[in-house]
Subunit: 356 residues, 2 copies
Amino acid sequence: MKPLPPGSTIGILGGGQLGRMLSIAAAQLGFDVAIFTDEPDSPAGRVSAKTMVGNYLDTAALADFARRVDVVTTEFENVPAQTAEALIAAGARVAPNPRALAIAQDRFDEKSFFASMGIATPPFRAIASQADLDAAIAAIGAPAILKTRRLGYDGRGQIRINSGADAAGAYEKLGAPGILEGFCAFEREVSIIAARGWDGAIAFYDLCENEHSGGILSRTTLPARVDAKVTQSARHAVTQVLNAFDYVGVLTIEFFVMPDGSLVANEMAPRVHNSGHWTIEGALTSQFEQQIRAVAGWPLGPTNCVAGIEMLNLIGEDANAWEALAADPDVRLHLYGKRDVRGGRKMGHVTKLKFS
Amino acid sequence: MKPLPPGSTIGILGGGQLGRMLSIAAAQLGFDVAIFTDEPDSPAGRVSAKTMVGNYLDTAALADFARRVDVVTTEFENVPAQTAEALIAAGARVAPNPRALAIAQDRFDEKSFFASMGIATPPFRAIASQADLDAAIAAIGAPAILKTRRLGYDGRGQIRINSGADAAGAYEKLGAPGILEGFCAFEREVSIIAARGWDGAIAFYDLCENEHSGGILSRTTLPARVDAKVTQSARHAVTQVLNAFDYVGVLTIEFFVMPDGSLVANEMAPRVHNSGHWTIEGALTSQFEQQIRAVAGWPLGPTNCVAGIEMLNLIGEDANAWEALAADPDVRLHLYGKRDVRGGRKMGHVTKLKFS
């Protein structure tokens, strides 16, 4: 693809904080941004040249959006695959492609996809009935986690099964097709963020070490406490995934690091990722600029990490401490412009840099 | 002033690239931005929540703007002082205050102000007639520079007087009240960027070394090749200026460094400054975030410089090289979203970082 000249319009599906940070990155490169979202007064819409508020399944609105933009990308993975397909039918270039979105939207398809490429996953089974669940627990053992196949995020839609007894009625409680995943006695959690351009070029960020609390990312640190072989394994896996999808844009895979140093893939996100927010200050090219560069057909930027990093999420009421955080010289504060503080809602983040 | 909570609206007078970078910084802290500009489709308006397009002397429009924002600041110094006064009359908090704007808008008042505080300037005389000019040249000598008192920038509205003979007809050619400034045989040019909060706290950035071409800044490097005494002199001068105005926000003074290490003030800008664009990547708090922090009543952020810096302006057709610049891994590229490339127009800049 010929690189889009400055002044072109980048379309973004979704109006949340990832869209906001993507829009800022696009603006710094001289692009205009148009947001398509079902949310009026969205965090991303408030920093973008144009916003269209509409339903993700409204084909006419999507066709109108397609006419106004030069390329379309996404800020969240639960955009219906039909949305991307409707945009393509209306003549839009869409990156990443709908196939990557569709697979990442279904935890069973995602893990099956990993397995098909020889990327290790926790043991897993598709669950469409209580009988499936009982059989899966017999096969995989407990503890295990029952999750919805679709639309779960940040720990929602998950039931922990500590023993066979916990399984009784669990499928009914889940209320949707599910997946049972075996428990992994991992040593730590890491993620790899990588980007691929229209020309197939790939760039990797340094491995991120992550801590979760209540199913939500709470802390990312770099450098990750892993040896070089672990980084190589993660790069190998993400390269396979990017190439298999003929992927364009930023993609993230979260892994468990096992005691023997092997990696087990937990999930992937076909987008910029919370564990990469440190790249705004901590890398030569932020993950947001990288996504814009990739989808606009620009060369990928250098990903060097320039400092030791600690990124802390501000979840719900954490953001009420903005005044103290603003006064802390060791903290770079980011707030997302969300109107209401709600429990479990990502309100912002802080990045701490350690220059050696 | 009590700090404005996130979600408050920062009003910015002016829609150019400085407003665009201010708006991006405000967004990262969770603020909304409203731009007041006489330019439809402005670079800043395209990244801001609201834009009002109006005349800077339209009192009713300004009163409407005042009602929609929590504080007002400016991105260019030629906002009429009446504009700031109309906003204050309508109940707005305005920072910096109109007095600083008014003095910085008139080169004679500005140099008189410097002189009144014991800050050295080149020799200067107010010129309101050809007779004034002839007398001033007799007193100051040639070479000297005849400038309009008001509304000149980036080298416009200036006539070089190399000898008494050049003076003939020069006042008529200038066509407006002027100032004659003696020539300074300086060794180098530097600028100091500093910020002051509502509480009187002051923060300084490292001294910037600047090169101009055709009257327009072309290159800024850090560290400046000056000894610590020069930095101390610059900090002392800018502190006097900030306090004298009871100034709130970022202010810049450009100096000539003389062969003996003394400083001669060239001009000041009551705003963020082109020679501080490197702070986006090169300082812990950018000058744009610092301006937002100051006017919003937040504590000033740390100004540490994290790398060696070279900032190059992209003037006019320089920006046509965007494709090569985007491919250069040593360059962080910023483009301002201006629709047309014109000679002498600031289209963007690049920053190069040298980590030691």
